[in-house]
Symmetry: C2
Subunit: 588 residues, 2 copies
Amino acid sequence: MSITTTTFRTHNCGELTANNIGQTVTLCGWMDVKRNHGGVIFVNLRDLYGVTQVVVKPENPVFKSAEDLKSEYVLKVTGKVSARPGANANKGMPTGEIEVEAGSLDVLNVSQPLPFELSEHAGVNEDTRLTYRFLDLRMPRMAKNLVLRSRLSQVVRNYLYALDFNEIETPMLTRSTPEGARDFVVPSRNNPGRFYALPQSPQQFKQVLMMSGMDRYFQLARNFRDEELRSDRQPEHTQIDLEMSFVDEQDIAHVVEGMMQAVFAHISEEISGPFPEMEFSDVMLKYGSDKPDLRYGLEIKDCSDIFKTSAFKVFSETLAGGGVIRAIKGEKGASFSRGDMDKLTDLAKKHGAKGLVWLRFKDGKFESPTLKFMTEVELAALKAMLSVGEGDAVFMAADKPAAAASCLGALRNELISRLKPAQIKKWAFLWVRHFPLLEKDAESGNWTFTHNPFTAPMPEELHKLDTDPGNVRSCQYDLVLNGVELGSGSVRNHTRALQEKIFALMGYDKEQVQRRFGMIVNAMDYGAPPHGGIGIGYDRLIGIICGTDSIRDVIAFPKTTSGACLMSEAPSTLDERQLKELHLKIEA
Amino acid sequence: MSITTTTFRTHNCGELTANNIGQTVTLCGWMDVKRNHGGVIFVNLRDLYGVTQVVVKPENPVFKSAEDLKSEYVLKVTGKVSARPGANANKGMPTGEIEVEAGSLDVLNVSQPLPFELSEHAGVNEDTRLTYRFLDLRMPRMAKNLVLRSRLSQVVRNYLYALDFNEIETPMLTRSTPEGARDFVVPSRNNPGRFYALPQSPQQFKQVLMMSGMDRYFQLARNFRDEELRSDRQPEHTQIDLEMSFVDEQDIAHVVEGMMQAVFAHISEEISGPFPEMEFSDVMLKYGSDKPDLRYGLEIKDCSDIFKTSAFKVFSETLAGGGVIRAIKGEKGASFSRGDMDKLTDLAKKHGAKGLVWLRFKDGKFESPTLKFMTEVELAALKAMLSVGEGDAVFMAADKPAAAASCLGALRNELISRLKPAQIKKWAFLWVRHFPLLEKDAESGNWTFTHNPFTAPMPEELHKLDTDPGNVRSCQYDLVLNGVELGSGSVRNHTRALQEKIFALMGYDKEQVQRRFGMIVNAMDYGAPPHGGIGIGYDRLIGIICGTDSIRDVIAFPKTTSGACLMSEAPSTLDERQLKELHLKIEA
């Protein structure tokens, strides 16, 4: 017996095989396709689990009502499972060996004519799909995404429970902290003028849980950010959030690597560990990005030394001013036209470069508008350093290190997209480690945290906090998969003295720290253990696994980029009574 | 090797036994208790998993720092596991056979003097406990509650996954529906004057998931209600929410009963199924409550027939006016004093009764202020009906059926509390079925839903919708455990015509239905399957299992009854910039 058996049905529409031939079964589902072949009606009955062919013969009393069936009518069919005649068996369909000869056929519900053909939903305007999400989700592609999302969440939970983690629910109605992204806020009717905030992450509560002795915490947590939306952003998103006591960076990495191996094993993909890891400074040098897509090679090389005596003014002045010259090879990029090269130059400029030097290697020699500024020795050294071969192109940026990195990083992505180089691996995980603890805030000129105000400095760099805070590396790490920043975590500060020292560097006095972060610094006063953790974007992870560019395809009821739910028409206006009870007035 | 092994520690504080004797181990944890016995220091080191005794001998270089240890210091101890000398073994402690002879001892963090003795936390003012929740949660009683809550959530998930359910996350930022309890709302910065609402339950979205073909949905969902709070209410609470397609009431009951059996099996309690079920009308008659505590007998009896010729004016007038006379026995209640009886009478009046008739059966005969109004025949019949024995008391209410039920139901609870009758069973589950579909709204005089506007009428009572809507029974059921309403569910309407008809009875025209419930009625237009489900209060369930009266004891970071988080000081004020961005002004 199937576990979906109910008083309504004996089987689902995806499970009958030749083993069931001769049985009388009852199925429920939706009228997917109907064909009338020489007086016999064939109905494809669909549910979440599959499709079964139902046959209604002309002599059947329900034949007339079968003729009237329309798309998406809800049916209950009782009948006998029989073998499909040899030639009609459909090997491509799990239930293709059999069909059900309808005895009775009940219409449980009807449907209006559909706003779009369901089988063509992927081509429909997304607003229409979101307005009729209940139809969109009936399509196997979408349903499979949601089922896989659901099943993988259980894989994650089973894995973490086996490692003694406990899932602990942290509050959704929390306190607003003006740092970081904008909070969504919730007026408190019982406390006029006061507001809760929806959590941007359970960060502070999970640290307090470590200080509460809970040892290993996780949560598939809903997080909220009131930001401008993009295709990979939603106002609410789900995070695999975890935190552990008495650990270092490597302990946390092992837990996360094992989790990813378990998740990918579920989709029959083997992931080997430990994952490669790079220092933040190295990854910026080699790939010009803190989230490089390492499915591909395309390493950036520093060729400053090659050009240290260059007569090319752009190069010599850059080097004299403390800048660098870096290059990346585009394999088979010699096919780029002048027009292509102009577009790539524009892209480099958009990412802060003053310009882009390019060379094509054709018929055994370089060609470039700037060829005349380079010596044979320099060109030979460049060719050797980048292993330039026939038909390749080389792109060079001469700039301050950060600008050269950013411009060649963007160029690298564009070369991958245009040249489609061979993948070195299918799933390229990478740990990027030891981000700077602090950076200058562009607006105020103060030091501010790069990721998280609670991140610990690397112990061996503590002494630089007083003398050179901008060069203190931290225990902050990102997990990158296929060029997407999947998660971010750190080992945290666990003493109040160090936490206050870092806040002081950011310009907060003790009173401000107490007011804004009182909960966590108070808890640090009473025996906070060393601890650390990570938050991993679950929507993004599932999006990558499902092979979609839009996380809206892996969320049941997503919002549009303007934050609207087209199906429920949220957000909506409140009535006067509600506003009055909340002591609020709308300002134009 | 323990699964909590990290670079910091080799074992946790709860797992070392005689099998580990001779091993060198490293433990981390909190200084729980320190004793100095004749120059040897014994430290109880505590973590989530247990307590291990650490011994520091006077010749040890760390002896001096061990002397300085204070409560809740965080320690890392490396040393050798040795047997406790025979007489010192502690059989009551899982690690009682061994102790760890400290080699090295590192203080990982210190603690300020504590605001209260942790071991006495249960006696501390709850506001203090909530302010220092990170200390409160370190106590084994609280930590065990959270761990059990976590583990049982995984039992629930494993059970539902095995039955082909999928956990699907529904939105937290939804649309406000002015029906029912008050919504918490969230202003939308991008849509000035518009608000999201936090969900009171995923009700509409889970029904839409059924209409999306998702077949079997569940979610451990966070729900929000802006109500006046009580000890069993929190502004946010967790619900095991589930919905199934192609099911009837019994299918849903089987799933829930199996779930409860799995949950209780985890705490070694056997629950037998199917659970008893009663019609709503019967349960009100027999127990005067729709959530009776059936761990106890104490059935209410209707004795109207016995008194149909009564000369007692209170009785005869009640019966003549369509009222009833009902009685309940309090075993050993004859010990109640006059003062007790007055208090019970006050309770009855508070619950809407005009008064309470009581009798004591002592020395083989009844005594009562109203004895003179009753005949020997009546008393004999009453005695037989209630099986009154020596030392028992009888309480009677003469009133309209609803008032008699409500008053004797309240009295029943009070008798259970005062007389402490023997429990018939430890875990008394009960299904209460077929609540009325509609009731009169006290304020407007209109029909309104008793539980949920989407509940289906019983099919056999559909014809009464036009003629006698107040007497239409519905497919609405409550699950009761030990006198607590644990959950509420129903089979839903799945056709738009029936749903609109019921809304029409409540006074909503089509335009209002479209505006307020557009999402769900639109989805009903396109092939909605028959479906039903339930939502089960997870905090309450865990509270009952943990044996606490306050759900705050099973929630990591609860709010006070005024909706405040004393630890994070939420809710808080916003700064002017935030208010301005949200286009809001606070009204005094």
